[in-house]
């Protein structure tokens, strides 16, 4: 079976760890325990008739003036940029932030995920979509288990490109 390294990045508190916990363990917690450094978990996923072992790197969230250490991107096949639909500062300037991730990782495509769908109305989502200069791949809720599996499938697909 092939193993692929994937990364989740984005501001702190947007729900990266929660998305992974939902995907890998099907668990969710309201408690916020900020990730330090990095943490790796894995899950086997079926995609395009292939089994892939995703090695999911949960990288500690950054604030605006911080960058993810370049070494973390070594050998990664895909990356997910997560933002929080309910916190503007996590998608303001998303363009520049995603560009930085592309530069550091050398990846051409980054999966863009807007999380915490349960906290905003569909009207607000529409407004955010208009605001962001590129298309959001999926709108998820780790809390209510919406689109989480699909988000990781999308990410896994990117590893095959």
């Amino acid at each position: 079976m092939i193993a692929k390294k994937v990364l989740l990045v984005g501001n702190f508190g947007v729900g990266k760890t929660s998305l992974i916990r939902r995907f890998v363990l099907n668990e969710f917690s309201e408690e916020y325990i900020s990730t330090i450094g990095v943490r790796v978990s894995s899950k086997i996923i079926q995609i395009e008739n292939q089994e892939i072992k995703l090695l999911i790197w949960d990288v500690a969230g950054t604030s605006d003036d911080e960058k993810v250490p370049k070494a973390y991107f070594l050998g990664s096949s895909a990356a997910m940029y997560v933002f929080d639909l309910s916190r503007e500062e996590t998608y303001k300037n998303i363009n520049a932030k995603v560009d930085i991730v592309k530069e550091l990782s050398g990846l051409k495509n980054i999966t863009i995920i807007g999380n915490k769908k349960d906290l905003v109305s569909s009207k607000e989502i529409e407004a955010i979509k208009k605001l962001i200069p590129f298309s959001i791949d999926l709108i998820t809720s780790a809390k209510e288990n919406e689109n989480v599996e699909d988000a990781f499938k999308e990410l896994a697909k990117q590893t095959l490109n």
């Binding site: 408690e31 916020y32 900020s34 990730t35 330090i36 943490r39 090695l55 790197w57 070494a71």
Partner: protein, 269 residues
């Protein structure tokens, strides 16, 4: 009642109204007075009120700041447990992260200063071994560097040849995640010549990976790494590598390897 005539219906009606509503009218007049008064009052008072409100808007904290702060202080003091409980998950780790980073910086700068100022620091240290300051003790206790896990990985197969675990990390997923991270860091960063990686923070642990001819040796440590600890750790790692590389049988006998790892690293305990 003298005005009353039979055919003057209107008048009679008026009279009847007068009779029936006399009391109500009294009330009405009183009310009217009051309302009028109030209107007048409002005209007079509104500007003053506006002024006060403006003043409050601007100077609220001057007027009430002290009281509110006091009230909040009391509230927090009286429900400390709740406050701590609410904030701990967020602050606890962040504070720890911050403190560890800061202390590391501090330790580095202190050591730098000592090294700069006294080249004989090593001699002094040896002379006064065992004689340490209170602050040293506290720092040492809280942030004492500890070897949590050691992994010896076979380069060719990528498999774990042997390991030591202090047994402190109860979370098995964490350990296997660490191992995954180590392998991928090793594979990706040592595949190109001369490329070296920084140490990696893995949750509360510091991972560092050493690259040898046929093996990687990785360590996970907790606490604040000081130069002495680091030097000793590196020496132990080199010793271990030398032993393994000289006698390959260690790589096929996990038990034997585990024993030697333990003997080398955990001698002090």
């Amino acid at each position: 009642m003298e005005k009353t005539t039979v055919d003057n219906k209107d008048n009679r009606f008026e009279l009847l109204k007068e009779l029936l509503l006399a009391d109500d009218r009294k009330d009405f007049n009183v009310l009217k007075e009051e309302v009028l008064e109030r209107e007048k009052f409002k005209v007079k008072v509104t500007p003053v009120l506006d002024e006060r409100i403006e003043d409050l808007k601007v100077n609220f904290s001057d007027h009430f700041g002290k009281n509110i702060t006091e009230a909040i202080k009391i509230q927090i003091r009286e429900s400390q447990d709740e406050v701590v409980e609410a904030l701990y998950p967020i602050l606890g780790k962040l504070v720890k992260k911050f403190i560890i980073a800061e202390i590391t910086k501090l330790t580095e700068s202190i050591n730098q200063t000592i090294n700069d100022k006294f080249s004989i620091s090593q001699i002094i240290k040896r002379l006064f071994k065992g004689k340490r300051t209170d602050a040293d003790d506290v720092l040492q206790e809280v942030f004492e560097p500890i070897i949590e896990e050691i992994f010896v990985i076979n380069k060719d197969s990528g498999l774990l040849a042997g390991n030591y675990s202090r047994g402190n990390i109860a979370d098995k997923d964490m350990v296997s995640g660490m191992l995954t991270a180590i392998k991928s860091f090793a594979k990706d960063s040592f595949s190109k010549d001369g490329q070296d990686i920084e140490d990696i923070k893995f949750e509360n642990f510091q991972l560092s990976i050493q690259n040898f001819k046929t093996i990687y040796i990785a360590t996970a440590t907790s606490g604040v790494i000081n130069p002495d600890f680091e030097e000793e750790l590196l020496e132990d790692i080199n010793n271990l590598a030398e032993i393994i590389l000289r006698d390959r049988s260690y790589l096929i006998d996990e038990e034997k390897l585990n024993t030697i790892i333990k003997n080398i690293f955990i001698k002090k305990e």
